[in-house]
């Protein structure tokens, strides 16, 4: 599996320059607006998009059919891709955190570590997104699964906007119990969300492995 991760990293290296430029642009925007949250929330997701590129490169090269003739199991291939996804989410988180600390050190040294949770939330969203998307990519391939990504992005956004508007207009009210429940979850978010992410990862990985074992080339 190390070989597979190594192969993805080598393939993705050529994007490093583009991402360095993007990081500088976002950093300048962060400094000028004296706000690190924009950088934190966007950059983790931008880095994580590389997971899709890793799948694309393999698909273009028809790598999987070749890799499966090597001492690599089908499970290894799925495990390799989930590892790369997590590594990229982690990389994004590290870059965001360093930037946040950097901007805080210049603008408000007394709150050096404030805003770090934005990066964590970004990484969490990225992982949840891929937990939903990866089984589809495993089944359909990255090209055919594109419409699924659109749905994964748009449905939650659409729902939030729809509910938000309806609540504002007064057409809809959120039940008191639901609000209390939601608040309780938010208060314990640092325990609940990592557990949810872990659960999502286990379910997603199990589905992907099941699909890939049956895949024909």
């Amino acid at each position: 599996m190390n070989g597979l991760i190594c192969k993805d990293i080598m393939n993705l290296r050529k994007n490093a320059k583009i991402f360095a430029v993007l990081a500088v642009i976002y950093a300048v925007m962060g400094f000028t607006s004296e706000d690190s949250s924009f950088f934190s929330s966007i950059f983790t997701m931008v880095v994580a998009i590389l997971t899709l590129s890793a799948y694309s490169y393999d698909e273009i090269a028809k790598w999987d059919i070749y890799a499966l003739t090597m001492p690599i199991s089908r499970d290894d291939i799925v495990r390799g891709k989930y590892s790369v996804m997590l590594l990229l989410a982690f990389l994004g988180l590290v870059i965001c955190s360093l930037f946040t600390i950097g901007i805080n050190a210049v603008l408000r040294p007394e709150h050096l570590f404030s805003g770090l949770k934005n990066g964590l939330i970004g990484a969490g969203i990225v992982i949840i997104f891929y937990c939903i998307a990866l089984p589809f990519i495993t089944k359909l391939g990255v090209e055919k699964a594109r419409f699924i990504f659109f749905a994964i992005y748009m449905i939650p956004f659409g729902l939030v906007i729809f509910v938000g508007k309806a609540v504002k207009k007064g057409d809809m009210s959120i039940p008191e119990e639901l609000m209390t429940f939601g608040m309780r979850i938010m208060r314990n978010g640092f325990i609940i969300f990592p557990l949810l992410i872990l659960l999502a990862l286990v379910i997603s990985y199990t589905i992907s492995v099941g699909l890939y074992r049956k895949k024909e080339f």
Binding site: G3, I60, I65, Y66, T69, M70, F217
Partner: protein, 289 residues
């Protein structure tokens, strides 16, 4: 591995909507080169995919180096070298990147041997694979297949689309590889001259079925061409006839069991034939019967 079969396929069936691999059975003895021939779409690649467990067969059994192909231990899998029609390598990598990746994948990877092949094949180390010619890409794939001390090479159209000089060079490498008595090559190709040059055995697949799987010398010995008048064809026992080609001067008839035929029909002279001719007569000649 001496005196055993490196590859054994028994009753392999794979059904698609418009094509069926129909009870494929043949064996490749260890230490030999088996040429796997057939026209495009005959089922060569499907058979290879089934051998490598890349598709699930509906029925039948495949074993490689004595192990069922769907339950190969990793160390056995590591001793199989595979080359497909394309390079299957990422185009933005260079030779050094590929070597590094393969070293991480194969426990038995031989970096020194890989470097030797890279030098011998004159593969540019700084260029990325995208800038390689087709011949270079195939040589790189072959270098990879040879650099982890493979016991068996499985090659799917590895020489197609290459110019005759590169093809000849690659065939020489195969002949060199087979010098080790436990090395085996299974080589699919529709370029029959390549098979005639290197193969010990030939398996011919036609429309998803195996027509024959025999030693090359035996094939040449058993088959022959009868040149006769068109009206003479009807006088020949059909059990000897593989195919007939008619032309303005008469008829060419591909005969099997040549020795037996000559004893029975002493009046007909029989010419030597080639694997290419046998394949053409079987593929195209039968309908004329």
């Amino acid at each position: 591995m001496a005196n055993t079969d490196a590859l054994e396929i028994k009753g392999l069936i794979k059904r698609y909507k418009d094509f069926t691999l129909d009870k494929i059975s043949f064996t490749v003895p260890s230490g030999t080169i088996m040429g796997f021939i057939g026209e495009n779409g005959a089922g060569k690649t499907t058979t290879i995919k089934a051998i490598l467990d890349l598709i699930k067969a509906d029925d039948g059994h495949v074993s490689i180096l004595g192990y069922p192909s769907d339950k190969l231990p990793m160390d056995v899998k590591a001793s199989i070298g595979v080359v497909f029609d394309g390079s299957n390598l990422h185009e933005n990598l260079n030779v050094n990147n590929v070597g590094y990746i393969m070293k991480s994948i194969y426990k038995n990877w031989d970096t020194e041997l890989f470097s030797q092949y890279v030098k011998r094949f004159e593969l540019p180390q700084r260029k990325i694979i995208k800038e390689y010619s087709r011949g270079m890409k195939m040589k790189l794939s072959i270098a990879i297949a040879l650099s982890h001390h493979s016991k068996i090479l499985i090659l799917d159209e590895a020489t197609s689309g290459l110019d005759p000089i590169v093809r000849d060079e690659i065939l020489d490498i195969f002949l060199e590889y087979i010098q080790e008595e436990d090395h085996t090559i299974f080589l699919s190709s529709h370029i029959i001259s390549d098979i005639e040059k290197v193969a010990d055995y030939v398996t011919f697949i036609h429309k998803g079925r195996i027509v024959f799987s025999e030693s090359k010398d035996e094939l040449i010995y058993q088959y022959g061409i009868l040149h006769c008048r068109k009206e003479d064809v009807s006088g020949v026992d059909k059990n000897y006839i593989v195919g007939v080609r008619e032309n303005s001067f008469g008829a060419d008839v591909m005969i099997k069991r040549k020795e037996e035929f000559l004893k029975r029909y002493r009046q007909f002279p029989i010419d030597r034939t080639s694997i290419e001719e046998i394949m053409l007569f079987i593929s195209k000649g039968k309908e004329m019967l």
